[in-house]
Amino acid sequence: MIVQTIAFYVFAAVAVMSALLVVGNRNPVYSVLFLILTFFNVAALFVLIGAEFLAMMLVVVYVGAVAVLFLFVVMMLDINFVELRQGFVRYLPIGAVIGIILAAELIFVVAGSSLGTAPAAAPTPALAEATNTEALGNIMYTQYFYLFQVAGLVLLVAMMGAIVLTHRDRSGVKRQRIGDQVARSRNSVELKKVPTGKGV
């Protein structure tokens, strides 16, 4: 048990520190790298409480896909760091408001669940009876099935929106027509039978 406790404090401390470094860093590439470190430590915390499916999903989705795109974009940006820091005072009120709202929401959720007013979730089956992949799937595809589908549709709309916004029809672009190439007659190609061990 002592090992788990030590591991918890190490992972939690690193997660909090690297989360602070994400916003405190001047170099945006380092920020993304610290974000990845945060994700990793949170995944480790999930493993410690026995939620291995969530831990793996966190790594696959956030580290493996989302953060790669962040890094991709950030690396290609040519950012002027001095200019970036100039708007600090101007954006401070907005940032503070958003921060306060998020903190308030967190407090409400935590206080609500400890007072017993939060909506009663389905009881989680014991780890010995069902792996948490099964437990999650069972809840998601029965109780929250419609919400799950709606979430999927929202993501689909966002995806189509991104394509519609960025897609341009450019004229004069030569495109490869795979069908035409495959349907081409064999006359222009000569097949040679090469004897084994001899070469052409």
């Binding site: 090992v3 590439v29 790298l33 990845i36 291995e52 499916f53 793996m56 999903m57 790594v59 696959v60 580290v63 493996g64 896909a65 790669v68 795109l69 890094l71 991709f72 690396m75 290609m76 389905a122 009881p123 089956p125 009876e129 069902a130 792996t131 948490n132 992949t133 099964e134 437990a135 069972n138 809840i139 029965t142 109780q143 490869q176 795979i178 061990g197 001899k198 070469g199």
Partner: protein, 358 residues
């Protein structure tokens, strides 16, 4: 074995020592296999191109990988003056470490595995999706045009092909009903999945080639366009780490193909001469065969153009694998052969998941 260590050294220390020994038992043969895969690649390609290949160092050139390794070890590591020193050194380490830690969940025989995770296949998928970081960091830290272009190509390529690999894994999981690699192999006792799921096997194999940046998908290191791609600026042992990581990834993908589609450690036929051979040898043979085909493909096919690569990933593999997920699920339900859970949820948990509206 584990009891011996825990009784001699106490609970924590004993477990730690035992685990380290087990890790060494996996990594040392793996690194040897990696070293000889480089030799095998040169020899096989030489044979296919009617050359001799390396034949000077040791009998049949068998000591060539060791000579190469020693040479790289004693060379000077050059860090370009414009490079980001920390990221430049960390990038090859990330690649190498990621290629090794994935082996923790690979079962070499029935139950012979370092960590028998419930979500083993997800762990493998997660680790293989992280491989892109070493490459992207290397390209960025080098502060040079060719490595950067190589890294960008690689990032786009690996993210694209991961999507179809994910769907292939889903079809396999549909047929197994478990995320545990041991269970996946056991589910192939009657039929290896490469037979009923043949289209998915092909998609997985080609995606594995793209995922490991192997020819014909080696755009990130296309020497005719990008010198050596993302590791153009690397020398000596930092280069060796990239090289080792890349070949360890080839072994990993070969092992994954063997586990998911070729029945893992199981003998091809459950009759006498085949069952005499121990399971880990079958597993090694299958993985080696897949690794051989990786080399075969390299010696045979010309490199893809980049837009064709993206087209294949997004417009061919993604719809195909998505359709196969639906078809597989449909067939399994229609024939009522969906794998049944052997440990069903207790009645209380099932009841409480009913909609609470009534």
């Amino acid at each position: 074995m584990a009891e011996f260590f825990t009784s001699t050294f106490g609970d924590y220390l004993g477990t730690a020592i035992f685990t380290v020994l087990m890790i060494l038992c996996i990594i040392v043969p793996l690194l040897l296999a990696v070293a000889y895969l480089t030799l095998a690649e040169r020899k096989v390609m030489a044979a296919m191109q009617i050359r001799r290949g390396p034949n000077v160092v040791g009998p049949f050139g068998l000591l060539q990988p060791i000579a190469d390794g020693v040479k790289l070890l004693f060379k000077e590591t050059i860090i370009p003056s414009g490079a980001n020193r920390v990221a430049f050194v960390v990038a090859p380490m990330i690649t190498f470490i990621l290629s090794l830690i994935a082996w923790a969940v690979i079962p070499f025989d029935d139950g012979v595995v370092l960590a028998d995770l419930n979500v083993g296949i997800l762990y493998l998928f997660a680790i293989s999706s992280l491989g892109v970081y070493g490459i992207v960091l290397a390209g960025w830290a080098s502060n040079s045009k060719y490595p950067f272009l190589g890294a960008l190509r690689s990032a786009a390529q690996m993210v694209s092909y991961e999507v179809s690999i994910g769907f292939v894994l889903v079809t396999v999981l549909l047929c197994v009903g478990s995320l545990n690699l041991n269970d996946i192999v056991k589910a192939q006792a009657d039929w290896w999945f490469c037979i009923p799921l043949l289209p998915m096997f092909v998609v997985f194999y080609i995606s594995a080639l793209a995922e490991t940046n192997r020819p014909p998908f080696d755009l990130p290191e296309a020497e005719s366009e990008l010198v050596a791609g993302y590791f153009s600026e690397y020398s000596a042992f930092t280069f060796a780490l990239f090289f080792l990581g890349e070949y360890a990834n080839i072994w990993l993908m070969s092992a994954m193909t063997a586990l998911l589609f070729l029945g893992g450690w199981q003998a091809p036929f459950d009759v006498a001469p085949f069952t005499w051979i121990p399971g880990w040898i079958w597993f090694a043979l299958k993985a080696s065969f897949v690794a051989f085909t990786f080399i075969w493909v390299r010696a045979t096919f010309p490199r893809y153009r980049y837009d064709q690569l993206m087209r294949l990933g997004w417009k061919v593999f993604l719809p195909l694998s998505l359709a196969m997920v639906v078809i597989t699920a449909g067939v399994l339900i229609a024939t009522d052969s969906l794998p049944k859970k052997n440990n069903a949820l207790p009645a209380s948990a099932v009841e409480s998941t009913e909609p609470a509206s009534d």
